[in-house]
Subunit: 654 residues, 3 copies
């Protein structure tokens, strides 16, 4: 079964509306709703006052209508009375400004008062509803790391110091790791250390990197506290917290270990004609976080959001198409923020399944229509996706990469990754993400668009992969520093020097707006490097600029495999480099041939998804089978309407 | 009589200069000067020390030269000794930064210490000068809301809480109005409420709206305190405070009730070739604030200002032309900042009637020449202007419109209003402004470029106007929320649904830089809407984009009148829509025909003003009469020199 | 001898690396290294703990390798233990944010605790190493004014008040100087005065100007404290502090009086094709600061820096060329930041003489090659440069010029100066800088691109220079205010009115992006003035805009000399005006003719430097002599390779 539903905030409406809601949910085919995300103030009106009656009635009502509940622990926004009683709950910026109540998610991750109160609330909820017949899923907290990623208050500082003590054991260890001999930064006591608050100039980069590690940890520690309370009091009920796609501040590899099921809040921008490619990327990540296990699209917008400067709605058919895309890439549930559009507050202009205009609205008609359609796709649930190509994603490296005082401040992980992903997407090649510590042997091709920070042991694993016959393509500015953001001996690519068969003499970032020719027809922007081959052969050279004639892209045969290095940022030009590696590895598109422009083809289990992201009718290659959407048999080609789709059940392999 | 003069700051000069000033004022035809705006430190050198001698001498000197005095209460900039004794007078930003002494207007509007000291000073001044022979007008404070619109200190917070208690009586009322069920924002005590300081994310929009109401109120309360002291101690002398044109932060409709005469500080930018249109708009507002009563242009620059990044001077003739424009639109006085250019301080490069170069300067010659000319226009004073068209302006709606998390952050009141006003200006159609609570029956056409926030009772008044035969043109994103910034039932246009004969299905803001075709030749930017007519007929449809074929501009016959709705931002294209309404209502240009390009024609009382805003000679239609500037009789055409003007006294109506 | 070397930070490396360093330094021809700039934490691990052993060993090692030491006093970055013991050492921003430890140069210039600790350290160092055989130079502190130019804490405020008392003696004096009659800013006690912290609007400009004077003074006071300790305990050893080229916040004229030798940190941007012209300008300033005495280039980057958004490396040959340029313009030492590239910290990507890649790298090869070459240029050391043209540079005027609320915020000293300098550079005319208080009689031509603030006595000196036959060219917006930033009587050009033979009626700044025609083919941007000649004759008039037909450039014969005035910003058009003055004064290019495009010709002592800044081979005029670089005799022409150079020893004048 594929879950269908959305966030439901009944506290915003009088109880007489609830019955209507339940009826309309049934009409729309809703199977599950998320309840209670922002209900703390209503559940606990005072320090020792609890009000569960309304929630009892609501859960019963939903159960009576056969609607399952994803029950939130409601901890993300502590009530006013608590914040006033314990002012240290409010988070503090790097400039020392204590952020005020009045918005949401206003808590210091390291505040003991907050933690105590939050866990007390979770315990109450779990005790009361842990075995409620409506309960299908626990929704822990909400969007960890949104708005407030870090708090710089004294309590956070103390927590940071404790974390550093646990990490380094000795001051010597910390001083060495942070390189405090530089700029007279030696610490003679852990007590002298503070968070990287605003300082006269750039702060010690390893301190900043450790701070980012700590911030992800401090939030994860909160999450684990809630998780273990639920596991104790509500055994057997799975729990999730809603991730925020490829978010920078949290190391989702670590987080995902504590999820029973991964869920995502995804808000691609309908004004961006390439938004669906970014969505595919994020969905591939969600699927990868627990090794291919199906995940939930827990929040998306039925139409426009309200937090962009200009919020473009989704034209007719787009929410259906984008929902099918999530399904294609491994989701087992399609849910929305939110069920009924708010009348007040900061999200009242955020679209909803049931818009302001009510059941007369276009939005409502699309809600009902898609609910019915989704029911016909139930058999897709649980299907797995197979990828032969993996992209290495490392949050620590990401954080370190985007530190200050680098050769170029333009080297941003997502910008570096995107053209690599787009090239694979355009070729119809399915891809997983893996952490650098993963065993890459299930894959034929390993891609590392950037691995600025690289541990020796991870480099060795990658080298072993190549030695054993794998194909590696490595992007620029990789293998530069170790886990302490300290340069590897001999410079980049550090521990990848042997497998890549080259050394970097000097980084040559390219100024904004400038381009350098590469090979026959490609161009580099942002970055180039002065490479010195040590065994690698040159595939493409620079054709202009100071580096003209020097190697830009190389290939090194190593063991039974090969390793390509791309010493510059090639943009779309990366495609040709990837083609070489894919071809060596025998990796082919889903359809065995390129899909037409704008058509996305994904094979999930035995279902072929064909998604037409254009506004025109398209005739696409396919495989013969049964289209679940139309209920018709299809042949070697399928006609897709504008923003149309097919979900073809392929016959069992003979 | 038309007042002529400027701000006079004698404390910046040794007394021997005063006599020269008085002589030169007479030479220039000065009739009134504003004195004492920044004299607090000089009038009260210490807590219990007062120095009035210098002001006694100055007022006598001016009286002896027959120069009237607009005496300032001097309260806008408290002296250093007071600020140091009562540090809480200094205002605090949303980030918690207490702003320092050293500039001006450094006071917390809710500071009791400030209020007490200010009212004590006003009392002293009123007691001493309340019946001085030179005194013609009281100048309360200075430019309320300039620099500091809001203070976020604890005293302001307490004041805000008190204001909220008065407004809502009960916590239930406040919680409901603010929609605190959203995001767990419920308050269980008024003491838990704070100003909308910097918070993790967007702050509750109704809280922000109430804060803006409160900030306007807190300043008005100060103003009313001063006003009532003056009324008690200086009865019969009118009082004003200098408004700042169409300023966002103060609800001038409320403020104007407490003015004996409205006055304005107007600083159109000479570098902007369309600045005179914005000036006309502001002057029409000033005239409208007290129902058409003449007003004073209390400050303008003789040439350049000093607070823009680049301060363009006025070329020869421009200060005369722009002064005549103010006269044309209802001013009974033309005054400047300032009389004698300062030698020191932050405004020393602001132009003055008597520039640094002295009586040799071009500026001085223009000062003298225009003073003489103005004397010939005395009969214009008191004349009224008749408008058949009114624009609805509502500060509360403006504040709510520009809140955060809207479908588009680009919908700014002044940007929405401007093309409507420009279209009327270009057609030579005179317009008044009215609050939404006004009786619109004196007008034939009512224009509402935007009424995002709209109370039921105001909507009913507007509907009644149409029912009784009026013509309404309503702009997009209107009738959206009620006074609590909560959505009207059924969505926009809420209580205007019946009179407009349509409902909005969904808002479709247009991304930056994009355009959508409308009708034969118009284009929408910024905004469009998916409209569903319920009786309205389509005048123009969208011709491109997702909404192509759907109605963009509609007309609904309602009662004896009609209501047009413009569901998008049309820019200059609004003109054709207005033409339809004006034509139905039989509203015609001042001259009965369009004026030549760049010529502004305004009828004030029995005087026709013809103002040539171009740098070329223009031959303009006119009515036969007597040109007060040249002293000649004119016919059906008048030749206007570059930046030239005519003020034609028309013969009495026969 | 020409010093060659760089910053050496041995504390970042284990001692076993030091021996290798010393050997490699010898290989590279290094003669001197700067040691200890950031060693405070290592030298003084606790309040009463000192560790000099490592430095003893290092200095002995260097001495044994005949490498001289520029020993830093290490005071720029106080250690963590000190900052935690005395938190008031940390500086505070204008918004009240106390900046955190973790970066560098984190000290309040007025902190007694900092000063005491710093001087104690200097005393210890001077006592121990004041006569060490390796010691050649004391390096006081580091880059004063970098990162933190001003601290706004209470201690700084008290210090500022004391400085004001010393300056003005009486409150009356201060009130008059600051013009506190304006905006009610009168002070009745020095205790009421604070630094110009963030205020509601613009702060009193004279207060800001005095604050800038004070900030330069407060840092200089620290410097003088260290200087006098060294002079006492290490007599005979010269001391320097590394200046930061033409830096805005410190009045280097005052500072240079306390230097035994001027030294500079110069970081021209290799991505800027005109960077070498800015470098020449700064080097001319360094030479001028002590009246032509040779100076040291104490820091430059061997290749890329790391603190720009994008850090472009130097292509092969560029570091050599730019180093020779410094030599040509008076440097007696070429040093770098830093010797060995760091593995950790915020500058690990800053290039070094010995890069990460080690002795295999291109960078190292250039280091060695240039060291050898420099040894062949030893005879250049000590040579002097003769200029017939001087540019007046006044830091106080610069500070005042860039105050707020001026006719145009675009008038920035460096932007005004640059085209004047570029015109001279293009013509091969050597120039000195002089303070306004200097005796200009050694020069034939005096240039004042801007003298917004001008004291009567300095104006009189300039007038005397012209009267005695000198040629003056004065740029716009000059002679405007006195030392208190108060307008001169009668307006600009104030005390220059007689010598220039004109008066300014009004400033006419030109809006961004606009241009006004001047004379036959020039154009003004940014600025123009309405000039009224009083004896001056017009050289060029405006040809467009409001001022068309009015004088733009004038010349006034005065005494035996002449004074030109340029009432606008002419950009490259200034060249023709300067030509007139140079020609009257008989000033000719170094080569007697213009050098080819991109070739810089400088005569230092008896050595002619020819520097080819282009990437192409160039054939340049020269004088016959002996090229020290090639060891060959040269004739009337020299062929220079791309980025090539010649250093021609001319025969003794016969």
């Amino acid at each position: 079964m594929i879950q269908y539903g959305g966030d439901y905030n009944p506290e915003q409406w009088p109880e007489e509306v609830w019955a209507e809601d339940a009826e309309l949910m049934r009409e729309a085919g809703v199977t599950m709703v998320t309840v209670g995300v922002f209900s703390w103030a209503k559940l606990q009106p005072g320090p020792d006052t609890w009000d569960f009656g309304w929630l009892d009635r609501l859960l019963d009502l939903l159960a009576d209508h056969s609607i399952a509940v994803d029950l939130a622990t409601a901890t993300a926004s502590p009530p006013a009375w608590l914040v006033r009683a314990e002012p240290e709950i409010l988070p503090v910026t790097a400039d020392g400004v204590r952020l005020e109540f009045g918005s949401r998610q206003h808590y210091c991750p390291s505040s003991p008062a907050y933690r105590t109160a939050a866990l007390r609330l979770v315990r109450k909820l779990a005790e009361r509803y842990g075995d409620h017949r409506a309960l299908a899923l626990w929704h822990i907290h909400n969007e960890y790391g949104d708005h407030v990623t870090a708090c710089f208050c004294p309590r956070s500082a103390a927590h940071f110091r404790q974390w550093l003590k646990d990490r380094y054991r000795t001051l010597e260890g910390l001083n060495h790791a942070w390189g405090t001999a530089f700029w007279s930064q030696h610490y003679s006591s852990f007590d002298e250390i503070e968070p990287p608050r605003t300082a006269p100039g750039p702060v010690n980069p390893t301190q900043v990197l450790d701070w980012r590690r700590f911030c992800s940890y401090a939030l994860l520690r909160l999450h684990r506290g809630e998780r273990s309370t639920l596991r104790e009091l509500s055994p057997g009920i799975p729990a999730t917290t809603n991730f925020m796609s490829m978010m920078e501040s949290l190391d989702y590899w670590e987080w995902a270990e504590h999820e029973d099921i991964v869920s995502d809040d995804a808000y691609p921008d309908p004004a961006d004609p390439r938004a669906h490619i970014g969505a595919a990327l994020n969905y591939d990540l969600m699927r990868s976080l627990k090794g291919g296990k199906p995940w939930l699209l827990l929040e998306q917008a039925p139409s426009a959001v309200s937090w962009r400067p200009v919020n473009t709605p989704k034209p007719p058919g787009l929410q259906r198409l984008w929902s099918l895309q999530a399904l294609a890439r491994g989701a087992d549930g399609i849910m929305y923020f939110q069920w009924r559009q708010s009348r007040a507050g900061a999200e009242k202009f955020h679209s909803a399944m049931l818009p302001h205009r009510g059941t007369e609205s276009r939005g409502w008609r699309e809600t009902v229509r898609f609910g019915a359609e989704l029911a016909r796709l139930a058999e897709v649930a649980g299907g797995r996706i197979t990828a032969r190509v993996a992209i290495v994603l490392d949050w620590e490296s990401w954080w370190a990469l985007e530190g200050t005082d680098h050769p170029s401040a333009r080297m941003r992980w997502r910008d570096l990754l995107r053209p690599w992903y787009e090239a694979l997407y355009a070729r119809g090649v399915t891809v997983d993400f893996v952490p650098p510590s993963a065993d890459p042997s299930p894959y034929r091709v390993l891609l590392a668009p950037n691995l600025y920070l690289l541990r020796e042991e991870d480099a060795e694993r990658i080298a072993g992969f190549v030695r054993d016959g794998g194909r590696l393509v490595c992007g620029p500015f990789s293998g530069v520093v170790d886990a302490h953001d300290q340069l590897h001996d001999g410079g980049a690519p550090g521990p990848l020097r042997e497998v890549l068969g080259l050394v970097v003499d000097e980084f040559w970032p390219i100024p904004d707006g400038k381009r350098v020719g590469v090979g026959a027809d490609a161009e580099a922007t942002l970055w180039s490097e002065w490479l010195v081959p040590e065994g690698a052969v040159t595939l493409d050279s620079y054709t202009s600029g100071v580096l003209a004639g020097l190697p830009a892209v190389t290939r090194h045969s190593y063991g039974r495999g090969s390793a390509r290095y791309v010493g510059c940022h090639l943009g779309a030009g990366i495609g040709r480099v990837l083609d070489g590696a894919l071809s060596e590895a025998g990796v082919r598109p889903v359809l065995g041939q390129p899909a037409p422009d704008g058509v996305e083809a994904v094979l999930r289990g035995r279902h072929l998804f064909l998604l037409n992201h254009t506004g025109e009718e398209v005739d696409s290659p396919s495989f013969p089978g049964h289209d679940l959407l139309t209920g018709t048999e299809t042949g070697l080609r399928v006609r897709l309407g504008p923003r149309g789709a097919a979900v073809v059940r392929l016959p069992p392999k003979s």
